[in-house]
Amino acid sequence: MNELANELAARYGARDWHEQRKDLASIWVDPIRIHDTLAWLKDQAGYAHLSFLTAVDNIERKAFTMAYTLRNHEKGHSLIVHCDIDRDHPVVDSIHLLWGQAWTYQRELKEWFGIDCPGSPRKDEEFVLEGWDDIPMMRRDFDSLAYSQATYDDRPGRETADPATHMKQKLYPEAPL
């Protein structure tokens, strides 16, 4: 597989090849080259199947890390292509012309992270949520608990017990905690 790593490095400046398993590796490219890299992988290198597309909010370094998971069915090998995009200006090339199903992922990314893929069909339509009026909820600076407390009423009297401590007390009441 290192041939592929070298090829990608030579063509697209790809770096940090990481062999996670025998059949799974990951590599990083610059966001400006993501479309070209994926197109080459699809058309020339046999990674014809886009099996997953998601993002990770790396708020510490102010970036969304994109993760495009491709599969080469002939070799039985999966490759995750990563790129970091600016968290304050989250725009990345759309790949819906490479893989038709990608627009659904990209619509999801728009709603859940606020990542924009210009030109992707129906990207501004609601995907899962209806009438959402806060920041995208998968961003790590979104406080789910605070939102829940402000929006949905609690039933008074709810108690939360740690299962391990609770069962210990129940089964062995004489034992020290």
Partner: protein, 209 residues
């Protein structure tokens, strides 16, 4: 003039575009008028013995409804069966957690059901949020939005618990104490305000009848 009831103001249906408002009901729900004496007792007996569930699994707990249909638990022997539309159903089983998106459909389906109608809330999530207590998208108490007659606790409850819940519901109906529909009509504005607080894209009639 004295004994004529004041007609309540028609509902505004502001969520609908103006050209569609005439197509939907603008009257608020009314309380059920009970028949007199033994007739109502007879009707309550009949209602209790033929509980028709709305076949709408609203959350993960709805998986527990399937075994009830099979021979092991066999809900049909209790006069319980599933119906495909709200118009034919008298019991709505809220099957666990309800996201806001589902809540909108729950409200719509509940209002479309013919009265008298009853609600069984299944699982911890419908009672106090359960494991979704900090979720941005899941309501914590279903009884803020529609009235509930019987709660079945557990995460998730076994089919036996659900059957016990139905038996409890039967007792309540037989005793003429299943007041859910009347509660809803009496406190309609309160329920509606709660619903509209969380369903932010309200694009349906105020009362879906």
């Amino acid at each position: 003039m004295s004994d004529k009831k004041l007609k309540p103001a028609p509902l505004a249906n502001e969520g609908l575009p103006p050209e569609e408002r005439g197509l939907f009901c603008d009257a608020a729900p009314r309380e059920y008028e009970a028949a007199k004496g033994w007739v109502e007792d007879f009707l309550n007996w009949a209602r209790a013995e033929s509980l028709w569930i709305l076949g709408f699994g609203t959350g993960c707990g709805a998986i527990e409804l399937r075994p009830l249909m099979t021979s092991r638990f066999d809900m049909y022997r209790y006069g319980i069966q599933a119906r495909p539309t709200p118009r034919q159903s008298s019991v709505f089983v809220i099957g666990g957690y309800a996201s806001v998106k589902t809540l909108k459909r729950i409200v719509r389906s509940y209002e479309q059901m013919m009265g008298p109608k009853f609600v069984v809330a299944l699982g911890s999530c419908t009672i106090n949020g359960g494991m979704y207590w900090d979720s941005y998208n899941t309501i914590k108490r279903i009884d803020q939005y529609i009235p509930v007659d019987v709660y079945v606790t557990g995460c998730m409850p076994r089919p036996e618990a659900l059957l016990a819940g139905f038996q409890e519901l039967k007792k309540i109906i037989r005793a003429g104490k299943a007041e859910g529909q009347n509660l809803y009509a009496r406190n309609f504005e309160w329920y509606k305000a709660n619903q509209k607080k969380v369903i932010k894209d309200w694009n349906m009639p105020d009362y879906n009848w």
